[in-house]
């Protein structure tokens, strides 16, 4: 008696899952399926990448699955998603790794299943990959270090070579943010009057950036420049600066050129951001996947241009 009640509810639940599944799977058999796994889907950057990839997939007649862990830092979950997609027998795997070394076992599993791996935006650690005997088909992305250097050069120019600078770092140990940071520091190294007074991680998150900036402003009320390793943090910093009544006294430079950042720049609240063009990355990734499916060879590096938005 009680079992039947339970069964009935479970069947309902299963039916709901089936309906969603069937809708999506209806024409999957006809068209080759490729998958894009990004870091997370609660960041505008990856949502843009998804949009670029979808548009390209539609025009090329590819079935595209886009998935991501709930949290940007959850490598284990991303690995599970990759494993599951391998079982799903996707033809090409496009991947934005959450951990440059940690994701290597998943890449190797794709290699074993003969699924080509297209790495997008963040690199897979070369040494670790080689040691594990894995390969990737290509890397599509911008040179993050170059972007960081661009941001530094712009701040030197804008502030006449003298400033007290604060930095908001990303998740420690993560390649993308680390590269941006390296580039930025390198750009400032030649100009001693550009003095870095604070450099703190805010884990790529807006609310953490707000708090960290607030704390930095307490310790160093005289900073005139701030570089954040992504726009999400830059926007958080802007709020904290505004709350402290510093208005436009501090030149804030972000990274990623998100819509909100562009708007802030247009309103003169923010100095600049580095445009990475995630849409183009998504488009290029799907294009590459299509070429791989046709058996064409692809270059191992496909840079996507970056530009300064101010």
């Amino acid at each position: 008696m009680r079992a039947t009640l339970f069964v009935r509810r479970c069947v309902l639940l299963a039916a709901a899952v089936l309906v969603t599944g069937c809708n999506r799977g209806a024409d999957a058999s006809a068209r080759p399926t490729v998958a894009l796994v990004v870091k997370t889907l609660n960041n505008q950057f990856f949502i843009d990448m998804e949009a670029g990839a979808k548009a390209a997939a539609d025009s090329l007649g590819l079935e595209l699955i886009v998935q991501a862990p709930e949290r940007e830092i959850d490598v284990e979950r991303q690995m599970q998603i990759v494993e599951n997609l391998i079982q799903r027998k996707v033809r090409v795997l496009m991947l934005v790794p959450n951990g440059s070394k940690e994701i290597v076992p998943a890449v190797v599993k794709a290699n074993v299943a003969k699924i080509p791996v297209v790495v997008v935006d963040s690199r897979v650690d070369d040494g670790t990959l080689k040691a594990a005997g894995g390969t990737v088909a290509t890397f599509i992305g911008s040179d993050n270090e170059d972007g960081g250097r661009m941001a530094g050069a712009y701040l030197i120019e804008r502030l006449g070579g003298t400033a007290k600078v604060a930095i908001l770092e990303g998740v420690p140990g993560h390649e993308t943010a680390d590269a941006r940071l390296r580039g930025f520091r390198r750009a400032l190294a030649g100009t001693p009057a550009m003095q870095i007074v604070a450099s703190q991680p805010a884990n790529m998150e807006r609310d953490q950036a707000f708090n960290v900036t607030q704390n930095i402003l307490q310790a160093h009320p005289d900073i005139t420049a701030l570089f954040a390793c992504n726009d999400v943090m830059a926007l958080g910093a802007l709020e904290a600066i505004a709350a402290a009544g510093k208005g436009t006294a501090i030149s804030v430079v972000g990274f990623d050129a998100q819509d909100d950042a562009r708007k802030a720049i247009a309103e003169k609240r923010m100095a600049a951001t580095i445009a990475q063009n995630p849409r183009e990355m998504g488009r290029l990734a799907v294009l590459t996947a299509h070429r791989l499916l046709k058996g064409e060879s692809v270059p191992t590096e496909q840079p996507v241009a970056i530009s300064l938005v101010r």
Partner: protein, 321 residues
Amino acid sequence: MMSSATVRRIVRGREAGTAIGLIVLCIGLWIATPYFATAANLSNVAEQSAVIGVIAIGMTFVILTGGIDLSVGSLVALVSVVIGSALQRGVPVFAAVAIGLLAGAVCGALNGLMITRGPLPPFIATLGMMSVARGAALLLSDGRPISGFPDGLRALATSDVLGAPAPVVMMLTLYLLAYLVLTRTVFGRYMYAIGGNEEATALAGVNVRRWKTVVYAISGLSAGVCAVLLVARLNSAQPIAGIGYELDAIAAVVIGGTSLLGGSGSVIGTLIGALIMSVLRNGLNLLGVSSYLQQVAIGVVIIAAVLIDMALRRRVQRSSR
């Protein structure tokens, strides 16, 4: 190993509902996608459930005694980093793992001591430990992942034992052990008794404080085992690993029918709960369902599982009055 009476009890017991849920889910996915019911995929699902499955054992013990342990996710990170730095310093794999497990058990025991010797409720004590352990993991690793380990460790995650992935065999062994502890040992009886009525148990001469401390130490230890699996699987020790694992573990326990009030439940239910979560995630991945919808689906399953469990319990109570 199990007598037929035991098997019958499981089939008739409360786990039956959860098990039927799992089976129905599997059948649904089997019909929905050809990729689900393949040997390779099923072995993946089992492997993917090992991480949460192992922590959920300790969590089941804690919740059975009427407590909660919020620190396990952070302890996973701390133990990972402890193992990672030990390996970096050239400590042999076996010893590094032992040190890590010890660290997990000690932190768990500290939770237990705060709860039993001090006036702290479990929620507060383990909330504090959650932050302390996370901070310690970041301090110890300078916030950076540690990687590049000997193959001996990787083997823990990649090798096969009797044709099944090593993590799965490890998880099932631990569950069997936990099942025997709960049903056959004095300690198991004490856990149920403490969760059912702590005062009456103390009055019966049971050293409630000591056993509760042991329970939290076991929870820390199971977080340690989870860390070993995770480090081996990712070949990297991450100070930011395990965020949110405590909630996944609690979800597995609750889906498995263990009451958050303590005193009733089983590890078999928890195992099924952990499997339901990973089967669901796997299935939604296979079906290409959007990540947003996946979160909704998992939330719905947790709520549905508890509602059904409560309905069943009310029915059972009514019929036995």
